[in-house]
Amino acid sequence: MRLVTTGALAIGLLVPALPAAADPVESGPWTSYEPTFTVQERGCGDVNDLTFKLSCSTGSGDQRAERRYATYSSGTRQFEGYFKITSLEGTRISLKQTFKTTGPFFMLAVERGGRLYSVHGGDTIATGATIGTTVRVNTVHVVGSTHRTYINGSLKHTVSSENGSFYDKFGAYRTGSGKGPATVEWSGIQFWRK
């Protein structure tokens, strides 16, 4: 594994100390980068830095608290992040999406108060999660080939990928059959490409 750093990390030396940056996973060489993002708050969604909250139990409408990152359309992209569900009375809240600009592509959701993880289409990929513990997510997206999802280091989902334009989103978002309230804390967000 070989890591190529960009100027953005060098600039990071000038800002207050942050937790040590992790290395990417899978074979490299990977280049660390920092895509821009916008914050999306809709309905009862609220974003405070990396805490994403849906304050209502409404089972309809657009209830969203997410970060939407910049679009990419080529190469291989890796996302790493850690989430902790601090509260979830409802179910089927999307935590992480790899979104195709023409429509949904990949969605990691949480069900039953944080105890099940599922993907777009409803397939359960992990059950019996321990509430209150931090969960690590790595996604590797080879545009035009495949999208792999690792939960706590283990491969849990693979789906083929068409060519096109995609972007990463994470936070808390009510899926079509879901409802809050929910509070999710994310940390350790990093991106790489090759």
């Binding site: 108060g113 280091g153 491969l155």
Partner: protein
């Protein structure tokens, strides 16, 4: 002559030095992308172990599971290829409350208070003052209220002053042992669980806990494509 004071100092230093880690952890690559962990040694009064992994030696470490004290092996499957994996094991200590039995039903259910499932501290209770590893330190007065067809609200009395958190444990009907279902912050004394189908009948208990010394760090690098 200064021999006696020096000897006393050496003895005192030996007594205050960290003791040897009693658990030795090994990691074996059993396939290109599967790692099996095994450990030897056991803290006699540990309530269990927490197994953690990282992909860098300094972490951050992520919890893979809370394991019962008698367990001594774990397989981490289907791993990220060509990636270093680091593991450590930490014992945890503390006494569990008396269990309560819960049977879910169709209702009617009492309307729960807003935020019933959030981990929280309900004020007004006695302030716990006992060390986690002392006699009588188990949480007491555990109460369970069914709030919905798949939800149970719990409250308990915190009797400890130095806990690193609380563990809610359950034993679904037909299972032999309790397992950890939620890890909660220190001073929390209320929490609500949305249940799984297998938990329509289950026993629950809560434990105040502290971690012990971590094991050695075991390491393997995966292969695969």
């Amino acid at each position: 002559m200064r021999a006696a004071p020096v000897a006393l100092l050496l003895l005192a230093a030996a007594c205050s030095a960290p003791r040897q880690t009693p658990v030795h952890l090994t990691a074996t690559l059993v396939s290109p992308t599967d790692i099996t962990l095994r450990w030897e040694g056991r803290e006699p009064d540990a309530a269990g172990h927490v197994l953690e992994f990282a992909t860098e030696p300094q972490g951050p470490y992520t919890i893979l599971g809370f394991l019962p004290p008698e367990q001594s092996t774990y397989t981490h499957p289907d791993l990220i290829p060509r990636t270093p994996f680091y593991y450590r094991l930490r014992p945890y200590y503390g006494q569990a409350s008396a269990p309560v039995d819960v049977a879910l039903g169709a209702g009617p259910h009492a309307k729960p208070e807003p935020g019933w499932s959030a981990p929280r501290t309900i004020p007004g209770g006695p302030k716990g003052a006992r060390p986690v590893r002392s006699e009588g330190a188990a949480p007491s007065d555990l109460r369970a209220i069914v709030t919905q067809a798949d939800g149970v609200a719990f409250r308990w009395t915190d009797r400890t002053s130095d806990e690193e958190g609380f563990l809610l444990e359950d034993r679904p009907s037909g299972r032999p042992d309790f397992r950890v279902v939620a890890a909660l912050d220190p001073d929390v004394n209320a929490f609500g669980l949305v249940t799984l189908p297998e938990e329509s009948r289950a026993s629950y208990r809560v434990r105040a806990f502290r971690y012990g010394q971590p094991s050695n760090v075991a390491h393997q690098t995966t292969g695969g494509s």
